[in-house]
């Protein structure tokens, strides 16, 4: 009853602060921004074309022919024409498709080396004049490019196509043409397929150097836009907003009215502290819940670790809020409370980053010298006793990535590779240690603040 009354009072105080509405508006904007990102599936044709270039069609043939005449070789230049998706209603990753694989054969000679395609290939080498011997070589090559052979090569070169069927087709005299039909791809769902994101419901396409699978894009949004920038802004604004909660309660003339009520000072302090945490919890729940919903509806990927982040971010906030509360009890000044929290934030950020960069990465690269060793030990000690704010950040990133990897990477080998990389990057940090040390810090600082509040004369 009393607890709820104080929480309600904190809520009332929160709602009275204009900054709360700014924060609320920012949160809604962030959710709307994420919800407005659309993900356009990449068409299959350019994918097939880019993979077809890599089809190793010529290797075996060239080796065979070169055994006969070491001065000559054969180049096979693949091209894709007449691409057609056979089921228009399905996504590119699941629909069967058909295309003509056009293999242009080009005889090479010693004098052409360095310019294998000569003028024909658009290069600047000498004019390529086809001789009878060249034509013989090309005919020989065409004979060897059987549908079975091509089918094997296509499977190797474009590994994601499923149930490939290859039939001969009409082509020029120096071309071997095949109609390739597939029964879709090995991609199990949309999230594995390549997408191009666009902001504001498709109005502004995001230029991407390489198209990326949808899951990777979601990971980027979750990790950077939400996990890093979004929470940093929310954390900062929350620290500012909640910094006045305790000092305003401790105002002369206000605190007296509460202290004469039949409530223990420890309870009063802890309830008020919890009120501040509740504020952060609700705000984070709104943002993370909103983003989880927006991304889930847009992409079908329900990243549940986003929901777990609500608790993680509230816990991280508690680290700063405990220091804010301690400063408030000693000084009754919201400004000092804000400065103390921000100073701690900068310190933890710096210690966390430098520890990761110089110590963990440094140890990996080369064994430390004697001097370095002791410097590392000292830095480890500092890192160990302070709250592991940055470590929790990295562990959260890992949590999100691991979940997404398990959802988007069908191949266990790929998953293992990613997990190994995550181990390499963040293997030195553990949830238990990070939460324990940070939790102890909160307990000690809140305990100290509480003790001061309890024994002080007002």
């Amino acid at each position: 009853m009393k607890f709820l009354a104080i929480l309600k009072d904190s809520l009332r105080e929160t709602l009275d602060v204009k900054l709360f509405y700014v924060l609320g508006a920012l949160s809604v904007l962030l959710i709307l921004f994420v919800a407005s990102i659309t993900y356009k599936p990449e068409p299959m044709e350019p994918r097939i074309k880019s993979f077809a270039v890599m089809v190793p069609l010529a290797i075996g043939i060239t080796q065979d022919l070169q055994a006969k005449d070491e001065t000559r070789g054969l180049i096979v230049q693949p091209d894709v024409k007449n691409f057609e998706q056979l089921d228009k209603d399905k996504g590119p990753w699941e629909a069967p498709f058909r295309f003509t694989l056009l293999l242009t054969l080009l005889a090479t000679r010693d004098e052409d080396r360095g310019h294998p395609f000569g003028k024909k290939g658009g290069g600047e080498g000498p004019e390529h004049v086809e001789t009878d011997k060249d034509r013989e070589l090309i005919a020989e090559g065409k004979k060897r490019l059987t549908p079975d052979y091509v089918q094997r090569m296509v499977k190797q070169g474009i590994p994601f196509v499923k149930d490939v069927e290859v039939k001969p087709a009409e082509g020029e005299h120096d071309q071997a043409a095949f109609t390739v039909t597939t029964n879709g791809t090995t991609f199990k769902s949309r999230k594995e397929w390549f997408h191009t994101p666009a902001l504001f419901f498709g109005a502004l396409e995001v230029p991407m150097p390489v198209p990326m699978p949808l899951g990777i894009i979601i990971q980027f949004i979750g990790d950077w836009i939400v996990g890093t920038f979004g929470t940093a802004i929310i954390m900062f604004l929350s620290v500012i907003m909640t910094a006045s909660f305790l000092p305003s309660m401790l105002n002369k003339g206000t605190v007296d009215l509460l202290l004469v009520k039949p409530i223990h000072r420890t309870s009063l302090f802890l309830y008020k502290f919890t009120g501040g945490l509740l504020f952060m919890f609700l705000n984070t729940a709104l943002i993370m819940g909103g983003i989880w919903l927006a991304l889930g509806l847009q992409t079908g990927i329900w990243t549940n670790s986003f929901l777990l982040c609500i608790f993680i971010y509230t816990f991280q906030f508690a680290v700063f809020y405990s220091v804010s509360a301690l400063a408030a009890v000693f000084t009754r000044s919201p400004i000092v409370a804000i400065l103390a929290s921000v100073a701690l934030w900068v310190l933890l950020f710096a210690v966390g980053w430098t520890h990761w960069w110089f110590i963990e990465k440094g140890r990996e690269q080369k064994p430390p010298s004697e001097t370095q060793h002791w410097a590392y030990v000292g830095y480890d000690a500092v890192h160990t006793v302070l709250p592991h704010y940055k470590d929790v950040d990295w562990l959260t990133t890992r949590l999100i990535v691991e979940e997404l990897v398990s959802k988007i990477q069908a191949d266990p080998a790929d998953r293992e590779k990613t997990n190994k990389q995550l181990d390499k990057d963040y293997g030195a940090y553990h949830w238990r240690t990070s939460l324990l040390v940070s939790g102890l810090f909160i307990v000690v600082v809140v305990g100290l603040a509480c003790w001061r509040f309890t024994v002080r004369d007002y």
């Binding site: 206000t254 202290l259 039949p262």
Partner: protein
């Protein structure tokens, strides 16, 4: 049994002694006024009684229990001097919040809040934010929050500060009504006229020491000073009275007679009878509480922020 009992109470703030061995009892149903200059230790004393501040030495109890316990605090109402209600509350929500912290049941609380706000004339503005209230309205809200949970002991520090004359009168009547209901009221005020009108007993605190304590009547009585009036046309035997060792002054047809130490007014009355003079007016002269206060603290050093003004002593 006294409702408030203080024994040899001492409070030290470093080298400063805010209270120096104060001993005091206050009975149930009493309106008790505590007077003193700024920095005399009045607020410290009240805060000790409420458990907000801890004493350095000595004992204090409320209703037979040590001060500061939850059960005692439940039965106590308090209006601090420089109160600052959280201005994000409305008058209604503030009382609702305090009521919840006091553990009042919801239904009773709602009814009681409305009654109280009506009593102090704030019902029409009860859903307005406190920041829109005038000083007088905040003060009336302060009185309401101090009494709305029906406490047995009420501590009021400057309850009429900033309140207009009509409001002051209403508050005064309210406190007298509470006294009639058996509540004990502990009053700190600089408005000595008001204290005089309301209190049963008064104590004067000076630099942490209790220097005067008694009923208002006792303290304001000027022992040995009488005002005498005779029938029209009769001459007061001034010379003979002076011969008896008294000081006589004539003022507006009346004579003020200051008896000498150990003398009784009957000696003067016997003399008047012997001379066949007819007595028409006889009163023992009283001073005001304000004058008494000024006389009492006259010799004291100035308070922290208000110098003592020297005034002509009343005769």
């Amino acid at each position: 049994m006294p409702v408030i009992e203080i024994k040899n109470l001492v409070k030290q703030y470093g080298k400063i002694e805010a209270l120096r061995g104060v001993t005091l009892d206050i009975q149930k149903g009493e309106i008790f006024g505590l007077l003193g200059q700024n920095g005399a230790g009045k607020t410290t004393m009240v805060k000790i009684l409420l458990g907000i501040t801890k004493p350095s030495f000595g004992e204090a109890s409320l209703m037979g229990e040590p001060v500061g316990t939850a059960s005692v605090r439940k039965r106590v109402g308090y209006l601090p001097e420089d109160h600052r209600f959280p201005d994000y509350h409305t008058g209604y929500s503030l009382l609702d919040f305090y009521g919840s912290v006091l553990g009042m049941p919801g239904k009773d609380k709602k009814q009681r809040i409305e009654e109280m706000l009506e009593l102090v004339g704030l019902k029409g503005r009860m859903h307005y934010k406190i920041r829109t209230y005038s000083k007088g309205m905040k003060q009336r809200l302060g009185v309401a929050q101090a009494i709305f949970h029906d406490p047995d002991v009420i501590f009021l520090d400057e309850p009429t500060d900033g309140v207009d004359p009509r409001g002051r009168r209403e508050i005064r009547e309210l406190l007298l009504q509470l006294k009639d209901e058996g509540k004990t009221i502990f009053l700190n005020s600089h408005l000595l006229g008001e204290v005089e009108l309301m209190t049963d007993r008064v104590a004067i605190l000076d630099r942490g020491e209790l220097i005067r304590l008694g009923t208002t009547e006792e303290l304001t009585q000027q022992r040995g000073l009488y005002v005498i009036g005779l029938a029209e046309g009769e001459e007061f035997p001034r010379a003979e009275v002076s011969k008896l060792g008294c000081e006589v002054t004539h003022n507006d047809g009346l004579y003020e007679v200051a008896l000498k130490e150990g003398q009784n007014i009957d000696t003067i009355l016997d003399l008047l009878r012997e001379r066949g003079l007819r007595l028409r007016h006889l009163t023992e002269k009283h001073t005001t509480l304000e004058d008494l206060f000024m006389q009492t603290v006259e010799a004291a050093e100035p308070g922290v922020d208000r110098p003592v003004r020297r005034r002509r002593p009343t005769r």
